[in-house]
Every structure is written in C-alpha cells, then in structure tokens.
C-alpha cells in the first residue's frame, strides 16, 4: 500500500530519504519494468524480457533479477551488486502523480512529483535531504526528478515500442527452463521474448521503419541481454552449493 502525497518544500522541508539497498527497502524484487532509453545499461547487467501487467494485460519490457517471486540474485546482503540499477528501482520513494492542468483546458492533467510517505526510505534523521535551506531542490531531488521525467517519457515510449513489436509479430511467449547443478529443473513462465526467427525474416521496409523509430537497437539489445541469464544461473548455483 502506498500513501502518496504531493511533494512540498514547506511540509517536506526536513524530510530525508535513505538511498541504501536491501530487503528492508524492498530491493528483493524478481523483476522491474524498464524502458528502451535505459536498455544499453540494463542489458549489460540483466536479461530483458517482456511480461503482462496482471491488471490490464498490457505488455511491458522488464529487467530480470531473480528466478522466483521476491528473489533478487544481485542482492548480497544490503548490497545490490551491479553496475547499473534500473530507473524503476531507483525512483523509490518518489512517484509521478497527476494534477489537473487548468491552463490547458478541462480534463488536462500534468505530471507532478509525489512521495510515498509509507515507504521505509522516508526518514527524519538519516539519508539525503530533499531541499536546501532556501527551499530549492537538493542535488539528490533534482536527480530524482530527472529520473521520474525519464520514467514518464519511458511509459509513453514503451507503449509505442510494444505496439510496434506486436504489429511486426516480433514477440513470442516463452518458458525459461533452468537446470541447476543440483539437478533440479525450474520453469519460469509468463514471460515473452523477441522472436528471432521473425526478426531475421523482416523485410527492408520493416527494418527501416524500426530503425527510424529507434527500436531496432532496442530489439537487438534485448536479444543480446539473454547472455545475462547464464551469470544469474551461476549465482543461483553458488547460493545452493
């Protein structure tokens, strides 16, 4: 449950945000939504798949951290061991709220920065401050705002990305079968991936169109990211041995 309120430099003047990782801060997640704009960084650490939002059935790209619910193989105690942490993880405890934008007519909404007051990162004593003494955003808050801005654009971008992939029939359902050193077989289902056979058969026109939208690179980075599965299996084996 979240208890989000609009961020305010008077009310939240003394608020601090803990930026550590660890289970206490909800870092034990199996996967998190990602966006083509961060694929370059994400694919260097994590496999990128696609999954469906259970509430809407809509597909979105996601970075995989573990093989089962609440498992994050990159989390070693309180340390998230990877060179890049995806935007959707880093954003906490901030989120985007929407406020009616009367200047733009009835029904128009503008994104606005909100904060989840129930998030364990919220503190009065420890962590990064949000505002300077003069009430301006701190460096940390500025970075957080930039991340939210990127996420906001990323959502819109994802919609078009997914539509384009579906239109070209480039997504396929798949089950990841993992055999561990102890002989156990694990199946990971409910995920989707790039259909490489279809990708290789795309005609020049379709490829040019994907390229002009900037999606061709994202597609190939997704394909390349599969190589990140092996190190995750190794981590899992190491835990079990």
């Amino acid at each position: 449950m979240s208890n989000s309120v609009i961020l305010n430099n008077t009310i939240h003047k003394d608020l601090k945000v803990i930026t550590k990782t660890g289970e206490a801060y909800g870092s034990n997640v199996m996967h998190a939504m990602t966006f083509p704009t961060e694929f370059r960084d994400v694919q260097s650490c994590y496999p990128i798949f696609f999954c469906k939002d259970p509430a809407t059935g809509q597909l979105y790209p996601t970075a995989l951290f573990g093989f089962e619910k609440d498992q994050n193989l990159f989390l070693n105690g309180d340390s998230w061991e990877a060179s890049y942490i995806p935007l959707m993880i880093k954003r906490h405890p901030f989120l985007i709220g929407f406020q009616s934008d009367l200047g733009k007519g009835e029904g128009a909404k503008k994104p606005i920065i909100s904060i989840d007051m129930d998030n364990p990162r919220i503190s009065q004593t420890e962590g990064e401050t949000l505002f300077t003494d003069s009430g301006d955003p701190s460096e940390y808050l500025k970075q957080s705002m930039a991340r939210l801005e990127a996420i906001h654009r990323g959502h819109e971008h994802n919609k078009i990305f997914i539509e384009t992939l579906l239109k070209n029939e480039l997504l396929q359902s798949f089950t990841l079968e993992i055999t561990l050193n102890n002989g156990s077989n694990n199946q990971l289902s409910g995920f989707y991936t790039i259909d490489e056979e279809k990708l290789h058969k795309l005609g020049a026109e379709a490829l040019a169109s994907l390229h002009s939208q900037g999606f061709l690179q994202a597609i190939y980075m997704t394909v390349a990211s599969f190589a990140r599965i092996r190190p995750m299996i190794d981590k899992q084996n190491a835990i079990l041995s």
Binding site: T56, Q58, L171
Partner: protein, 526 residues
C-alpha cells in the same frame, strides 16, 4: 468436354447465417483483397434484401465460434466490443429434473482426464455426496459463481476453461458484413430476389433481382431464412417435421435492461423449465435476452406470457416485467429432407430450425459453411457427389441434435403437466435414443459412444446431462480392467479437479469485470 468449373458463389440472404457463411467460405478461398490475387478467380456475392428484417436467432454460440472467428482473421477484442458479446461456459439447467429448486450444468469443458480415464463409473458411488459436474469439472463451480473463463492477461481466443459466446445477433451480422466486404473481398448487393432462372439440367442458372439484374453463379447458397426462397419455393424440398419428438413450436422473446450497469453478467445460458417449455436467459454486457419457448399444443400464449413475465419479475424486477416488449416467433421444429439439391444448398433457418436448447443454430451454420469451404467442388460433375455427402452428414447431425435435445426431456421426473408426461411417452422417443439409454443403464457413455470422428456432441455432453438429471448407470459387478484401473486413480483425479477448481476460483475475475477490462485494454494476440 471440359466440365464447368465452380468459381462463382452467390449467397441469398444477409442475416447471421448469410454473413457467417460468407465469412467462413471467403476466408478459406480468398488470398488477399489488397492484391486481389487468388488462383481460382473466385467470386462470392451476397444478395441481401433491404426490406426483410433479420430474425436474429442464436444469441448463444458453441466454443467452435472461437476458431471460426480466428480463421476469418477477426480480433476477439473487436468482436466482443462491437457485438455486445460476453463469455458463455455452457448451460445451467434449473427445474428440469423435479421442477423444485433443482439445478445442474452442462459445461463446455470435458471432464478432467477424460481422454484417458472415464470418471463417471467412479462417481456413481459418490452420487449422493457430490454433483457429477462438480466432481469432474472445474467449470461447474465457475458457472454457478458467474466467473469469466480467462483473465485479461490470457491471449485472445485462448482460455483457462473452454468457452463460447453470448452475442447480439443483429450486431454480429453487421460486424461480419463489414469484415466480409472490407477484408475478405465479398461482394455485397442490396436487392430483392424476385425470380429464379433455370438451366437445362435443372440447376439454377441465375436469380433475378429487382434492382441489380440477373445474377449468375455456379453454386447458390440459400440463407433466406425459414422461407427458403431457393430450396423450398423454387425446388419444393419439404421440411421433415419433428414436432412429434420435440414439441416446442413458439417462442416469446424479450430484451431486458440490467437494473444497474454493474449487475453481474451470467457466464452460462440459464435454462429454466416451465409447465410446457422453458425460459432462456442470456446475459450480454448491455442487456439480458430472456424468452420463453413452449409447445402451443400444451400451453396458451396468455399463460406462456404470464410465466415469462413472472420470471422477469422474480429475476430482474417487477418494473422490468411491466416494461417488457414481447415478440412472438412461430416455428415448425424440423429440417429439410435434404439440404443440397442440384447447385443449391441451404444454410441456417432455411435448412431447419429447432428450439435453442443447446444453441445448435449457429454451430450448424459454421459446420455447413466449413464443409462447403473445405469440399468446394472443383466442377459441376463432382458437385453431385459432394452434395450427397453433405446431405448424409447433415441428416445424421440433425438426428443427433434431436436425440440430444430429447434426452433433456425424457430424463425428467416431472409429471406435473401433460407436457412433461407426453415428453416421456415412449412413442415420442426416437429409437436411436431409446437404444442408447438402454445401453447407458449398464455402462457409462464414453469414447465408444462416438460413431463418427466428428460427432456434434461428445460423449461427455451425454454424461453431463444424464448424471445432471439423476440418471443411474448400474455398473457391472464384474468390473473390466479399464474400470479397475480407473478406480485406482479415481480419487486422485477427483482431488486434482477440486484443487484446480479452487485455484481457478482464486484467480478468475467475474464475467462483468473481464468484459469491462476488455473494453478498456483489449486482449493481446499473444
């Protein structure tokens, strides 16, 4: 001499039957409307009368409709949004057994592990403890709870449990028309057929229309409704009446709005037995279709109307009953003595009509059109052979439908009215059904009961109706090897089914909830 090739088809009539047949045949034989390439230079024209309103029978489909739509290249999301469609998981029968608060289901999903194991003999010893459908199928519980057969994350046309649809037949015909004309290259003429011009060999050479002239074709498909403009009015092929077996010949139909927008949409067709017929209740997203189908020999229109209004008053509201507009439809239960004659084949009500107890109308259109599409004769000579096959197959199918519908009546314990007593009169029961009932007294239906590979009703359907109605099969005390093996794993299978049921109840949304989500988000194709 070169045989006349079959390349031009004309469909006369533009109701659900006409457009569904057009879509099925066109999807099979057209290649691409953009490039207009097709090897057979195939032409399909549908002539629709601008003056005749469609009847709109068949608001319930079988699961077969899913693949029918898919083959036509229709998006399930578009179909559900535009045809006011919802999910149907089978039929829930109430009052059929005793007339007092009894209920059972005929779900679309076959019993658990049915391919390998017949659970019906195992269930006989627990018949007093658990209903048959509940013991062997998860769907029974889902139907009573009004849950959807899938989730929003399930790809289009895929399912957790098997399903068909409830739909607005008028909207469906219009939806199919657009798809046929815009995507499948079907030519649409709005005209009245005013005459038939015969060829020397007795075939139909062309039909004359009031505003589009004479339309020639190699094969004419009669979808003109019960009037059967070509097969009956031109060729005089008669109807074989089945009113001695199935008495219902009148329907009173009403469309009832929900009390509020959030009212539950049932995920089964509700069929409630009355004194001389039964009432259907079909939940669409925007309204309910409620109607009373009865035997005019056993009930008066006034009394039948009262029963219908009483049903509406008790299940919807007194207000809804008072506001209801009731439309009457008379029909002669039966089918043509043959469906394909010369170069003319009838599909839909022109071929026959029977009470909608198991929603057999639309599925017969699908099967007929699919067989025409599949076996489209290469030339005129072969057509007579294909026609013969078609007639044999569909006469057999009609017999099986009639047997299956009659089964619902003969198992009833009701003797409260002449209608129920007459229905159990041995003289009204087809011999083919009596014989099977005799066999089923000693062995449960299973795969062995299928004579053909493409039976309309799988043996599982007979199980659901027989045991739902309380029929008793006295198992042989000897016990075959197959039965002993089934006994060994029976309890495990019942438990698996119970576990699956619990899991599905926990994850499936209500029918209304899923329909609302489809309207907002739509299904994914994958």
């Amino acid at each position: 001499m070169e045989e006349q090739k079959i390349t031009r088809l004309v469909i006369v009539g533009g109701g659900t039957a006409g457009w569904l047949a057009a879509g099925i045949i066109a999807a099979e034989h057209f290649v691409d409307t953009k490039t207009k390439t097709n090897k057979r230079s195939f032409e399909l024209t549908l002539i629709e009368s601008p003056d005749i309103a469609t009847i709109g029978v068949g608001e319930g489909t079988w699961p077969s409709m899913r693949s029918t739509l898919q083959k036509m290249g229709i998006s399930e999301t578009d179909f559900i949004r535009e045809c006011d469609a919802s999910f149907k998981q089978g039929t829930l029968f109430r009052g059929w057994k005793t007339g007092h608060d009894d209920a059972y289901t005929h779900p679309f999903t076959i019993p658990h592990a049915y391919a390998e194991t017949n659970l019906a003999p195992q269930w006989q010893s627990f018949r007093d403890k658990v209903d048959f459908a509940e013991a062997v199928s998860s769907q029974n519980t889902l139907m009573f709870k009004g849950l959807a057969p899938k989730q929003i994350t399930t790809p289009e046309f895929a399912f957790n449990v098997n399903y068909g649809y409830h739909l607005d037949a008028g909207k469906f015909a219009e939806f199919l028309r657009r798809h046929c004309v815009e995507k499948l290259g079907v030519k649409h003429l709005k005209a009245n057929v005013t005459g038939v011009i015969s060829a020397e060999n007795g075939d139909i050479a062309s039909v004359t229309t009031d505003v589009c002239g004479d339309i020639q074709a190699d094969l004419f498909i009669d979808c003109s409704g019960s009037r059967a403009l070509l097969l009956d009015e031109h060729y005089g092929v008669a109807i074989s009446s089945k009113s001695d077996v199935l008495f219902n010949d009148t329907a009173l139909a009403a469309q009832i709005p929900y009390t509020k927008e959030s009212d539950a949409i049932e995920s089964s067709t509700l069929s409630t037995a009355q004194t001389a017929g039964w009432i259907w209740d079909i939940g669409l997203p925007s309204r309910r279709g409620i109607g009373h189908v009865y035997s005019s020999r056993h009930n008066s229109e006034g009394r039948a109307t009262e029963e219908l209004l009483a049903y509406i008053a008790s299940t919807v509201s007194q207000q809804a009953a008072e506001a209801a507009t009731i439309r009457r439809l008379d029909f002669m239960p039966g089918h043509r003595t043959k469906f394909w004659h010369k170069n003319c084949v009838a599909i839909g009500m022109s071929a026959g009509f029977i009470e909608p107890l198991e929603a057999s109308a639309l599925v017969l259109v699908e099967l007929s059109a699919a067989m025409i599409a599949d076996q489209l004769p290469a030339n005129r000579h072969i057509m007579d052979i294909v026609a013969k096959r078609f007639n044999e197959k569909f006469l057999y199918r009609w017999d099986r439908i009639i047997d299956f519908l009659k089964l619902h009546y003969v198992l009833s314990e009701r003797r409260d009215t002449a209608y129920w007593r007459d229905n159990c009169d041995r003289g009204t029961i087809p011999e083919s059904l009596s014989e099977r009932l005799e066999v089923w007294r000693h062995q449960c239906p299973w795969h062995r009961d299928a004579v053909h590979v493409d039976e309309m009703f799988p043996s599982a359907s007979f199980q659901y109706v027989l045991y739902g109605m309380g029929f008793v099969t006295q198992q042989s005390t000897l016990g075959s090897r197959t039965d002993r093996e089934a006994a060994n794993i029976g309890m495990q299978l019942f438990q698996e089914n119970a576990d699956k049921t619990q899991r599905l109840v926990g994850m499936l949304p209500s029918n209304r909830e899923l329909i609302d989500k489809i309207r907002t988000y739509g299904f994914q194709k994958i």
